[in-house]
C-alpha cells in the first residue's frame, strides 16, 4: 500500500492506493504549518480504509511550496555563486539580469574562477583550485552557508564541479552546495540561475522535508517517502533536501500523470479545471509533453523541464457577468467559492452555479438559483464549453481526434462533447488526480551529452546513452524490467563537422517497492 499526497497552495490532498486501486481519498485545506494538513489528510484516508500505518510501504509527496517561496521571495537564504569557466564567459557575470528585489534577498556574492571543459568534454582550462579555495574562504568570512557552483560544460563533464564540492565541504563542512550539473542542461546561464535558485532554498528545504518527516512520524508511518519532480519522476527525500528546485512545476505534471492513470489512457489531452484556471496539457505515452520555450520563474530565466501547459481563465469560481455580452471569467471568487457563490447563499454568479442550474452538479442549494432564466443558463453553458474547446484546439498537434480527460474540482463544469476530441472522460477520483499522480510517479534517469556520430555511429551512440540513462534510473530505485525510454532528442551541432550531435535521452520506470527499506 502506498500514499500519495499533494500539498498545494489551497488544498492538501491524500490518497491511499493498493496497486492500481484507489482505496480512499481526502481533500483538506493546506495549513500554515504544512505538516498539520498532511497529518489530517493522511489520518482521514487511513481511518476511511481501516488500515493501519504499518500497511503503508511508501509515501509520495508532490508540493508547490518551493516554487511559491521563490516567487514570493519568502524564506530564502543568502547565496554565494562560483562559476568555474574563465577565461570564457567573463563577459556575462552571474546574475546579470536578475531582478533587484531578489538580489536584495539573496545578495550579489559571486566569483569567477579559471577552469571548465569544451563542448565534447575535453579540457578548456585547468581548474584553478587555489583561486577557488580563496573564493570559498571569502564566502566563509561573510558567513555564507549556501553556495552554487556552475562549471563550463559541466553537463558534459562534471569532474570539476565534483571537486569543487569537496573543497567547499572541507572549508565549510555545514555548507549547502548546489552543483549545476545535477539540475540543468547545456545552457550555462539558465543552468547557473537554477543552481542559484536552488541554493537560496537550502534552509527552507531542510525545514519542509523535516516537517514531512515529522508528519509521517507522528502518524506512525515508518515507510520511506519520496517527492515528485517536474518531469513526473521521484526523488528521495534526502535528495530534495539538496535539490528542492527540481520540484518546481511538479503540480501540473502530477495532475496529468494522475489523469492518465485514472483513465488508463496514455495519449490524450488533459484539462485540469481548478477554482480559477484550467491547465490544458498533452499526454504522450503517459507523460506530459514538455515546453520548448525557456521558462521564467519569479523573473529569473531557467531551462527547466516543464510541461507544456496552456492556462485558461476558467474554473469553478469564475465570475459570470451579464452586462452586455455574457462573459465567464477570467475573474474568480477563488477560495471564497463556498461563501460567495449563489448556491452557497452568496450573491455572485459563478460557473459552479451554472453547472448546478444546468443539472450537471449537485453542490450547495439549488433553490438559491431557481430564479436564473433558462436562456442565461443555456448561454453560459455554451460559453464555458466554448472556452474549453478553444483551449483544446490550441494545444492539439494534429487533426486526429484524441480523448480529453477532465480532472480537478471544476471538471463538473463540462457535460457535453468538446469539438475536436474523440470523447470526454471524467474518471472517478478526478478531484484528487494530483495526489494520485504523485503516488504513481516513476523513477527516472536522463543523459544529455554531445556524441560524434561519425566516430561512434548513431546507433551505438543512442544505445550507449540509453544504457547509461537506464543505469541512472535503476540506481535511483527503478525496477529494471519496467524502465522505458520516454524521450529521445537529437540536435545536430551546426558548424561542427564530424557529425557532432547533442543527444538527450530520458527513461523512467516503476519504483521497486520490494527494495524499499523501512526506516526502523
Amino acid at each position: 500500500m502506498r500514499i500519495g499526497v499533494d500539498v498545494g497552495g489551497t488544498n492538501t490532498d491524500a490518497v491511499l492506493m493498493d496497486g492500481r486501486n484507489v482505496i480512499a481519498a481526502q481533500k483538506t485545506p493546506t495549513t500554515e504549518n504544512v505538516s498539520d494538513g498532511i497529518v489530517k489528510a493522511i489520518t482521514s484516508v487511513l481511518d476511511q480504509s481501516g488500515k493501519s500505518a504499518n500497511a503503508v510501504k511508501c509515501v509520495m509527496i508532490g508540493t508547490t511550496q518551493f516554487t511559491n517561496a521563490f516567487v514570493e521571495r519568502r524564506n530564502l537564504v543568502e547565496v554565494g555563486v562560483i562559476r568555474i569557466s574563465l577565461p570564457a564567459t567573463r563577459g556575462i557575470p552571474p546574475m546579470t539580469d536578475w531582478p533587484d528585489d531578489i538580489r536584495s534577498v539573496i545578495g550579489s556574492n559571486f566569483e569567477m574562477i579559471r577552469g571548465g571543459y569544451q563542448y565534447d568534454g575535453r579540457l578548456n582550462s585547468e581548474f584553478d583550485e587555489k583561486g577557488f579555495r580563496e573564493a570559498v574562504k571569502r564566502f566563509k568570512s561573510r558567513g555564507l552557508k549556501a553556495i552554487a557552483i556552475s562549471g563550463l560544460f559541466s553537463p558534459v563533464n562534471g569532474e570539476m564541479e565534483d571537486r569543487a564540492e569537496e573543497i567547499i565541504l572541507k572549508e565549510i563542512p555545514d555548507c549547502n552546495v548546489t552543483l549545476s550539473s545535477r539540475i540543468g542542461r547545456i545552457g550555462l546561464i539558465e543552468r547557473e540561475n537554477a543552481a542559484i535558485m536552488n541554493a537560496s532554498l537550502a534552509a527552507l528545504s531542510v525545514k519542509i522535508v523535516a516537517s514531512f518527516r515529522k508528519a509521517l512520524a507522528d502518524l506512525g508511518i515508518l515507510a520511506p517517502f519520496y517527492i515528485s519532480q517536474n518531469d513526473g519522476t521521484l526523488m528521495k527525500a534526502e535528495f530534495v533536501e539538496k535539490y528542492p528546485v527540481l520540484t518546481f512545476a511538479s503540480g501540473p505534471t502530477n495532475s496529468m500523470r494522475g489523469a492518465a492513470y485514472l483513465s488508463g489512457i496514455e495519449d490524450a489531452l488533459v484539462a485540469d479545471i481548478g477554482g480559477t484556471t484550467t491547465d490544458i496539457g498533452m499526454l504522450t505515452k503517459g507523460f506530459p509533453r514538455e515546453s520548448s520555450l525557456t521558462v521564467d520563474i519569479g523573473g529569473v530565466r531557467t531551462n527547466f523541464r516543464m510541461p507544456d501547459i496552456f492556462a485558461l481563465g476558467l474554473g469553478g469560481g469564475s465570475i459570470i457577468t451579464t452586462e452586455g455580452d455574457l462573459k465567464v471569467g477570467p475573474k474568480s471568487v477563488g477560495y471564497r467559492l463556498t461563501e460567495d457563490a449563489m448556491v452557497f447563499g452568496g450573491d455572485i454568479l459563478t460557473s459552479t452555479d451554472i453547472a448546478v442550474a444546468a443539472g450537471y452538479a449537485d453542490i450547495g442549494r439549488k433553490s438559491h438559483i431557481s430564479h436564473l432564466p433558462e436562456e442565461l443558463i443555456a448561454e453560459a453553458v455554451e460559453r464555458i464549453h466554448h472556452i474549453v474547446a478553444d483551449g483544446i484546439d490550441r494545444m492539439k498537434t494534429s487533426a486526429d481526434l484524441v480523448p480529453l480527460i477532465l480532472v480537478g474540482g471544476g471538471a463538473v463544469l463540462i457535460n457535453r462533447d468538446i469539438p475536436g476530441t474523440l470523447k470526454v472522460i471524467i474518471p472517478e477520483h478526478a478531484g484528487v488526480a494530483n495526489a494520485i499522480g504523485a503516488s504513481i510517479a516513476q523513477v527516472g534517469g536522463e543523459i544529455d551529452r554531445v556524441f560524434s556520430y561519425d566516430t561512434v555511429g548513431r546507433d551505438t551512440a543512442i544505445s550507449e546513452a540509453k544504457a547509461e540513462a537506464i543505469s541512472v534510473a535503476v540506481e535511483a530505485g527503478a525496477a529494471p524490467d519496467t524502465v522505458q525510454v520516454i524521450d529521445i532528442e537529437e540536435v545536430p551541432l551546426a558548424y561542427i563537422p564530424g557529425g557532432a550531435v547533442r543527444l538527450r535521452i530520458k527513461v523512467a520506470g516503476e519504483l521497486n517497492l520490494d527494495n524499499v527499506v523501512r526506516a526502523e
Binding site: P87, G91, T96, D97, I186, A399, P492, A494, R502
Partner: protein
C-alpha cells in the same frame, strides 16, 4: 541613434526577428551588451552618412556553433584583441565598427566591442538580416574582401587569415574556429567609409530596435503580430511583408551536412485541414512553401514567430506542436541584384531557383 540599457530587451528581440531563425541566441547577446554597458557606458552610434570617405571600418562578429554559444560566451578581452590584431596587421586603428549582420547575437557583439573600446559603431550592417557564412555580405558582393581578418579565442590565441577570395576565407576561418572550440571572435571586412556608405544596409540598428518596440507595444495592446507586420510595412526595406501562414508544427527533420544544420519543418493549420506549409532551413530559414509552391525564398526574410506573443523562434528551438505564424518580408534592392543573388540567392543554398521577390508571388 542612441541605445540605452533599457532598450536592449527590445533591440535583441528585433534582432532575433531579423535573424530569421539563425544568428545565435540573442539572449546571450543581450546579456553581453547589458554587462558591457554597465561596465563601460553606452556605445557611441554614428550614422553611416556621417562617415568620412576614407574612414577605416571593421566588421566585428562572433563565430561558432549556436549550441556552444549558449554555454560559452565571449570573455571581452577576446573582442579587444581581435580589433588590436587586425589593426596591427593594417598598421592603423579603425575609425568605426560595424555589425557584419543585424540578426541574432552578432547585432549585440559589436555594441559590446564599441562600448569596451570607445570606437564608434555605425548604424548599419552588411547583411540586413543573418546569413551563415562570411562571404554572404554586401561588401563582398560589391567587391570588398573580408580579409585580412583576425580570429581570437577566449584564451587569447589568435590567427590572421589572408585568402584569395571570400569563400576561401570562410573555409579557413571555420577550420580555425573548430580548433579554437567553436566560439570565437573575428574582426573582418576592413573597408572604407565610402564602401559602407555605398553598400551597407543602412539604419538597421534603428530598425531592429523599432521592431522590438512594435512587438512590446503590440503585446500591451493584445495584437503583437499585427503590430510587428504594420511596423515592417512602414520601413523602406521590409515593406513588402505578409503573414504567410498560421498553424502548428507537425513535423521537423534535421540533418547535419558539412557542419551545417539543414532541415525542414512542416506545418498544418490549427483547424487540422487546409493548406500545408513547409519551411526549409539551413541555420536560417531559406524557403517557405505552401502545398509545395514556393511563396518566399532567400534572401527575402522568412521568420517564424509565436502566434500569440510574436516571440521569434530560432531554428534550434523549433519543436513539434508549436503554434506559430510565419512572416515573409522583402529585403533592400541592393540585396536582390544578380550579383547579390549569386552569393546569397536560392541557388547559393542549393535550392531550386530562380529567385522571385515576395511581392511578385501570388499566394495560393
Amino acid at each position: 541613434m542612441k541605445l540605452e540599457l533599457t532598450d536592449l530587451e527590445d533591440f535583441a528581440r528585433g534582432a532575433a526577428f531579423l535573424g530569421t531563425g539563425g544568428g545565435g541566441d540573442p539572449y546571450i547577446g543581450k546579456l553581453l551588451a547589458q554587462h558591457a554597458i554597465r561596465e563601460f557606458g553606452v556605445p557611441t552610434i554614428i550614422e553611416p552618412e556621417d562617415l568620412a570617405d576614407d574612414a577605416l571600418v571593421f566588421a566585428i562578429a562572433m563565430l561558432g556553433a549556436p549550441t556552444v554559444l549558449v554555454e560559452k560566451a565571449a570573455c571581452g578581452d577576446d573582442i579587444d584583441l581581435a580589433i588590436d590584431k587586425l589593426s596591427e596587421r593594417l598598421g592603423r586603428r579603425p575609425d568605426a565598427l560595424i555589425p557584419i549582420e543585424i540578426g541574432g547575437v552578432n547585432s549585440t557583439v559589436p555594441l559590446v566591442a564599441s562600448a569596451r573600446t570607445g570606437i564608434p559603431l555605425v548604424n548599419a550592417d552588411g547583411m540586413g538580416r543573418a546569413f551563415p557564412e562570411i562571404q554572404m555580405v554586401t561588401f563582398n558582393v560589391y567587391g570588398s574582401k573580408p580579409t585580412p581578418l583576425s580570429v581570437v579565442d577566449e584564451h587569447l590565441n589568435s590567427a590572421i587569415i589572408d585568402a584569395k577570395d571570400a569563400k576561401t576565407a570562410e573555409d579557413l576561418v571555420r577550420s580555425v574556429a573548430i580548433q579554437m572550440g567553436l566560439s570565437v571572435i573575428t574582426a573582418n571586412y576592413p573597408v572604407s567609409g565610402d564602401v559602407v556608405k555605398k553598400y551597407a544596409i543602412k539604419h538597421t540598428l534603428t530598425i531592429a530596435l523599432e521592431i522590438g518596440r512594435a512587438i512590446s507595444q503590440g503585446r500591451k495592446e493584445g495584437c503583437p503580430v499585427e503590430a510587428l507586420v504594420n511596423y515592417l510595412r512602414s520601413t523602406k526595406y521590409y515593406k513588402h511583408c505578409k503573414i504567410l501562414y498560421d498553424g502548428k508544427i507537425t513535423d521537423i527533420k534535421r540533418e547535419t551536412t558539412k557542419g551545417f544544420s539543414v532541415g525542414f519543418c512542416r506545418l498544418e493549420p490549427l483547424s487540422g485541414s487546409g493548406d500545408s506549409m513547409e519551411v526549409v532551413f539551413q541555420n536560417e530559414n531559406l524557403a517557405a512553401k505552401i502545398n509545395g509552391k514556393m511563396v518566399t525564398m532567400v534572401p527575402d526574410l522568412i521568420c517564424i514567430v509565436d502566434r500569440e506573443t510574436a516571440e521569434p523562434v530560432p531554428v534550434e528551438a523549433l519543436r513539434y506542436g508549436q503554434r506559430v505564424k510565419i512572416i515573409g518580408a522583402s529585403v533592400p534592392p541592393i540585396m536582390r541584384t544578380p550579383e547579390a543573388l549569386d552569393i546569397f540567392g536560392p541557388q547559393a543554398f542549393g535550392l531550386d531557383g530562380p529567385y522571385t521577390p515576395i511581392e511578385d508571388i501570388v499566394m495560393p
